[in-house]
């Protein structure tokens, strides 16, 4: 398999001190959907800006489709389609005019442009609104139009920064569908996201990014597989925050001492215990904690999620429900071996 993207120690330092992207070397294979997952400020957009020739790397370089982003920027722009994080749409033109402009900027001929514009309007379900001013479009329509501008020239690589940021769930599902359809037709796709679900549902491979660095890389299943076994999720019903902290600490101490418990991690409601075998661990855990004089609220068993992976590598969780990542520091307590 050929690589559509290769980066070599790609680094961007803003104002001589902010290491937005720090020594990133990754390969993205032709034909895959590759996700960059990380919280706000992780350096995802900066990485993408360097790959789309919008920002010059401070050091290191990258090749897209075999072309160097610094020395062959023009070639890179020709084979890449870039859809920005914030839908960059011209309020003073209609959807059709905006797509047409990009067709011209990609130097397509008039006939191809007309055909392509109609195809894309159809695909992105914008045909009815095509001749209305973009100023009247909803957020979801703008984001779809934005993706459309990146597709006018059938790029080899589609780069989408946060494809579904701030969109409602129906729109998100539709955009996932478009991306899958494009990928089936052979387009390589690089996307960034801080929605775990998006990476899990959509991506062939994921790189987890934090503080400008890639901290883990693999298929969603491989990454989850790195956390062997199951997750036992416990809630500890206690009113007093002080007392709860003590209880969580006590429960953690008890569990960490067990050989079948690999790691313990505090959560909002109680704690998660990572174990080899969930079915045998649950009764043992119940027993041990009761012996220790602790009351358990609920106990449940789950497969590890990407959130657990993220936590393992960054010491923080990504919270999805707030629509943006909240990095809550949580101690990842390792069982001494």
């Amino acid at each position: 398999m050929k690589n559509i993207v290769e980066t070599f120690n790609l680094t961007k330092i803003y104002n001589k001190q902010v290491r937005a992207v720090d020594d990133v070397s990754v390969q993205i294979e032709e034909g895959e959907i590759f996700g960059l997952l990380g919280p706000n400020g992780a350096g995802k957009t900066t990485t993408i800006h360097m790959l789309t020739t919008l920002t010059r790397p401070t050091s290191g370089t990258a090749r897209v489709g075999g072309y160097d982003v610094l020395k062959e920027a023009r070639k890179v722009r020709e084979i890449t389609g870039y859809s920005a994080q914030e839908a960059g749409v011209d309020e003073y033109s209609s959807g059709r005019e905006y797509l047409t402009l990009f067709g011209h900027y990609y130097h397509l001929d008039d006939q191809t442009i007309r055909r392509r514009v109609n195809e894309l309007l159809e695909l992105l379900e914008l045909t009815d609104a095509a001749d209305r001013l973009v100023a009247t479009y909803s957020g979801g329509m703008r984001k779809r139009l934005e993706i459309g501008t990146a597709l006018m020239h059938r790029p080899q690589l589609l780069v989408v920064d946060e494809p579904t940021l701030g969109l409602d769930i129906q729109t998100r599902v539709r955009i996932w569908d478009y991306i899958r359809t494009l990928n089936k037709d052979g387009m390589s796709i690089l996307l960034t996201t801080h929605y775990l679900e998006e990476t899990d549902k959509l991506c062939d491979r994921v790189a987890i990014m934090d503080h400008g660095r890639i901290v883990a890389l693999g298929t969603p299943n491989e990454l989850k597989g790195e956390i062997h076994g199951d997750v036992v999720m416990l809630t500890l019903p206690l009113e007093e925050p002080d007392q709860r902290a003590k209880t969580v600490e006590k429960a953690t101490r008890i569990l960490v001492a067990q050989t079948f418990v690999k790691e313990v991690q505090p959560t909002d409601e109680g704690l998660n215990a990572y174990v080899d075998q969930g079915s045998s661990a649950v009764p043992q855990i119940l027993h041990l904690l009761e012996q220790g004089g602790l009351t358990i609220g609920e106990i449940s068993l789950a497969r590890p999620s990407l959130d657990d992976v993220f936590l393992k590598y960054t010491g923080r969780t990504i919270r999805e429900e707030k629509g943006k990542a909240v990095g809550a520091r949580a101690a990842w307590i390792r069982r001494p071996r």
């Binding site: 920002t55 722009r77 870039y82 920005a84 900027y105 990609y106 130097h107």
Partner: protein, 254 residues
């Protein structure tokens, strides 16, 4: 090269299409010079006696033509700030579009609106009794000289916009520059009626070179010395502005 010309054309077309969607803007743009013309000639009517030549309209019409180029200098910057804010410029420079075409297309857009305004000024001032001493040739030469001046001013403010990326400082700085450029010239009153320090300042003002070349073409005849100076000064000014704007563009996005 073919692509560069096409890119310029479609960039210009995109700007002009704004008027199709907002015909009201177009109307304001065209009414504006009429208002200036009537307002200024009424305001300064009484000092007509101080002039060696005809009525104030006759004197002011060429001045207004130059003045409109100064007034339009901000217009492109605002469109570009809008494009920067909405991420449109970023999207454009991620395509293989020619960078110079984006710049030149914008400058041409301002030139087109200015030419439309000038046509209005000419028509109205003819109706008010003015005439152009050098006829069509003089009008065409005026277009050339003042276009270069306009490109220079517009390019510099646009470069400022691309660098600052925010409207507030651009408005402040642009006013700080363009208003003195207008007042430190003989647009409103002839130089010999101004104090000597202003006459000195005028020597460093490209706007003044434009007006010194253009006004005689309207009032008396070609002043080739003034025309040569204006072409050199305004031409150099336009070139510098394009270089500065290109540099600002290159830095955009870092």
């Amino acid at each position: 090269m073919r692509n560069a010309i096409k890119d310029t054309w479609y960039t210009l077309l995109r700007y002009l299409r704004t008027f199709v969607h907002n015909p009201f803007w177009m109307l304001i743009l065209l009414i504006q010079p009429m208002i200036w013309l009537v307002l200024f000639t009424q305001l300064f009517q009484s000092i007509t006696l101080g002039f060696t030549s005809g009525s104030y309209v006759q004197f002011f019409a060429p001045g207004l033509i130059v003045m409109l180029a100064v007034f339009n200098a901000n217009a492109l910057a605002f469109r570009m700030l809008n494009d920067i804010n909405y991420g449109v410029l970023e999207k454009m420079i991620a395509t293989p579009v020619n960078r110079y075409s984006l710049i030149v297309g914008g400058l041409l857009y301002i030139a087109v609106t200015w030419v439309l305004q000038v046509i209005i000024v000419l028509i109205v001032s003819f109706l008010m009794g003015a005439s152009v001493a050098t006829g069509v040739a003089g009008v065409l030469l005026t277009f050339v000289i003042v276009s270069m001046l306009g490109i220079g001013l517009t390019g510099l403010v646009a470069a400022l916009a691309v660098t600052m990326k925010r409207p507030e400082p651009v408005v402040l700085i642009a006013n700080l520059i363009t208003l003195p450029l207008m007042f430190l010239s003989s647009i409103l009153i002839p130089a010999y009626l101004t104090p000597s320090w202003i006459q000195t300042a005028m020597k460093f003002n490209p706007v003044n070179y434009a007006i010194l070349a253009v006004r005689p073409m309207f009032l008396t005849g070609f002043d080739w010395m003034a025309i040569a100076q204006a072409v050199i000064v305004c031409g150099a000014f336009a070139l510098v502005a394009i270089v500065v704007e290109t540099a600002a563009f290159r830095r955009f996005g870092g």
